[in-house]
């Protein structure tokens, strides 16, 4: 008799054939196909595998099942090569109430009027780190903003991280909004780096946080990197030699006019410097985000201000030098901008807005501007991060969408959440896109105002803003609404 070790190994192999490399590597150069690879076996391979595992008698039994009965994923029927179907969005119970806003409400007199703030909880990003989902954002308690982090092993159960370093008490005059918020985060193999803003006494400055476990955090004040009363972070990305972050501040702190895009570099997420970059600092350039694609780093946004032209730049030296790509087709798009990006296997997908008509004239700013309500969703794809091809978005724009709010890629392709503004309120639409099937609208149920989308192993995770009235001040009901975050999951069926 063979030794026990050999017997065990042979027994396990007899129960479950080895998974082959071909099963898990995607034969589609653009996207993972509709079903996981192991569900796409040719029938001959399937039959051979089943024979080896359970014998001919079992084959007859299994083959007689219908598709639903074999939903464990065992490859038994050629009909399973049909696209994976998405179920319906299910709201995750917030049993720990970690996404529920405080009841606090602040209001102070200011000149002839007053400044006030309700409370809110907002998620600005979700990253995967060490087998967990880590959400970042801010919990606003009246005037005070608290940089916040939540953790979940599966997207279903969430806890909020209690770390003093995330949002320490600030020495400030409580006469207006103050505190800290996280605007963007990224994880590399060793740590999470989050970037956001600190507001004290009317001044805003950049702040970063680093953590090796998503539980314990270090805060790093980045004073002197930005100027003016307005600072905003639009994205952060990990590169081969560190991190890059993008955002805006005021080029003219005296007047608060003319936003200027900035690019920050860091080797460790703790210390940062502002990169000199004339391209991004040029008037009218809006860098709305940054991502990586293979060995390239891609920044995207728009040029020419409000009459924008969608623009993307790539860098082959981790942000040292940048080359502008040709994205905008002036003959087809009067104005456009890019607001979101996602990498789906070998393809970079950029999503943004485009105007449906020539820009109008804005009486307030006395400049050329696209009138609200004339926006459509625009998309471009690239396989090299340098050249782009437009995607025909006419199928989804029949819904008169105004802007994309979140994008991700997962088991069924690319998922896009977009809002439509109407006099009756804002409505949300969810679209699934795959290059071979085009756009498919998903039933979003009661899901609305999506702030982030994240791929799960077998579905999707969404966070959404839930603005609701709270009867705190019966004399001024219009302004006393709070804003919770709701978490939803969309499983495959």
């Amino acid at each position: 008799m063979n030794a026990l070790d050999e017997r065990i190994r042979a027994h396990i192999d007899s129960l479950a054939m080895p998974v082959t490399l071909d099963e898990v590597t995607d034969p589609d150069p653009l996207f993972k196909l509709d079903a996981p690879a192991h569900r796409r076996w040719p029938i001959a391979t399937i039959a051979a595998g089943v024979v080896a595992i359970a014998g001919l008698a079992a084959v007859a039994t299994i083959a007689s099942r219908d598709v639903d009965e074999s939903s464990s994923g065992t490859p038994v029927s050629p009909t399973q090569t049909e696209p994976l179907r998405l179920g319906t969005w299910v709201r995750v119970e917030d049993s720990n109430a970690v996404f529920v806003a405080s009841d606090e409400f602040d209001r102070i007199e200011s000149g002839d009027g007053y400044i006030q703030s309700t409370s809110s909880v907002r998620v600005s990003g979700v990253v995967e780190f060490a087998g967990e989902y880590v959400a970042v954002g801010a919990a606003n308690v009246g005037f005070r903003a608290e940089a916040s982090v939540w953790r979940s092993p599966d997207g279903q159960t969430w806890t909020r991280v209690a770390a003093q370093a995330l949002s320490p008490d600030l020495v400030t005059e409580p006469t207006d909004h103050y505190g800290l918020s996280i605007d963007a985060a990224v994880a590399d193999g060793n740590r999470i780096v989050a970037v956001g803003v600190t507001t004290t006494n009317g001044a805003r400055s950049l702040t970063s946080w680093t953590s090796a476990d998503a539980v314990n955090w270090e805060r790093h004040a980045l004073d002197g990197l930005t100027s003016g009363p307005f600072v905003s972070v639009t994205g952060v990305v990990a590169t081969a030699d560190g991190f890059l972050a993008t955002g805006f501040d005021n080029a003219d702190p005296e007047t608060g006019q003319r936003n200027e895009s900035f690019l920050l570099r860091s080797s460790d997420g703790a210390t940062w410097d502002r990169a000199e970059n004339a391209e991004f600092a040029a008037p009218g350039v809006f860098v709305n985000g940054i991502t990586s694609f293979g060995d390239r780093v891609i920044a995207y946004g728009a040029t020419d201000g409000h009459a924008g032209n969608a623009a993307a730049w790539y860098s082959d030296d981790n942000g040292g030098t940048w080359t502008r790509s040709s994205v905008h087709d002036t003959s087809a798009l009067p104005t456009s901008s890019i607001t979101h990006s996602i990498t789906a296997a070998e393809t970079l997908v950029l999503v943004g807005e485009q105007a449906t008509a020539e820009p109008g004239f804005d009486d307030v700013t006395e400049s050329t501007a696209t009138q609200r309500g004339d926006q459509d969703i625009a998309m471009w794809t690239s396989t090299d991060g340098a050249s782009y091809q437009p995607v025909d978005t006419a199928p989804i724009n029949s819904a008169a969408l105004d802007r994309a709010t979140a994008v991700t890629s997962g088991v069924t392709g690319v998922l896009i959440a977009a809002d439509r503004d109407a006099s009756a309120g804002t409505t949300t639409h969810i679209w699934e896109w795959h290059p071979s099937r085009g756009f498919i609208e998903q039933d979003h149920g009661e899901l609305a105002s999506v702030t982030t989308l994240t791929a799960l192993p077998d579905g999707y995770l969404a966070t959404a803003s839930d603005r609701h009235f709270r009867d705190r001040d019966p004399n001024d009901t219009s302004d006393t609404s709070g804003e919770d975050t709701l978490v939803w999951v969309l499983p495959t069926s």
Binding site: R7, A16, E23, T25, A37, A52, G55, A58
Partner: protein, 162 residues
């Protein structure tokens, strides 16, 4: 020629080679651990699911210190969800098989172990992982692995001999 596969090869680079190397060393132990946890069908599916996930995110996952442990958690999470959704029996259900290597008595003895004991015995005895390697894969402590291995092996040897 399959044009799509040819395109994949054109895109294939160093990351794919590193994935293949990682795949060759990880697949057997990952499959063993997940089959021990979820049984043959669900365990194998969970293995394929986890490896597909790593393939899709290979640039990031393979940079992790413990990519195999990460893959195990992906497979475990997927398997648990499927199990909950389907209400399926898991572990090592009774099975009849004519496949080479299948031992009914060994199967019964493995099925009698706790899930963790079964995982550790299969990994450390069957696939020769050290306690440290098994601990990293299963995300438990080395001392836990040692305890499960000792108790599980005693019970297994009592049932089927050494």
């Amino acid at each position: 020629m399959d044009v799509r596969n040819e395109t994949v090869r054109q895109h294939a680079g160093p990351a794919d080679a590193s994935f293949e190397s990682w795949f060759r060393s990880t697949e057997p132990r990952l499959r063993a651990a997940l089959v021990a946890a979820f049984g043959p069908e669900l365990g194998r599916d969970a293995t394929a699911e986890a490896l597909s996930y790593v393939w899709e995110h290979r640039d990031r996952v393979l940079a992790l210190d413990n990519a195999a442990g990460y893959a195990f958690r992906v497979g475990q999470r997927w398997g648990r969800r499927q199990r909950a959704r389907q209400g399926r029996r898991f572990g090592m259900p009774p099975i009849e098989s004519a496949a080479p290597g299948f031992e009914p008595a060994l199967h019964e003895a493995l099925a009698a172990l706790s899930t963790r004991q079964r995982q550790v015995v299969v990994l450390c005895i069957g696939y020769g992982l050290t306690h440290v390697e098994a601990a990293a894969l299963l995300n438990i402590s080395r001392s836990s692995v040692q305890n499960h291995a000792e108790r599980g092996l005693r019970r297994l040897q009592k049932a089927v001999g050494s």
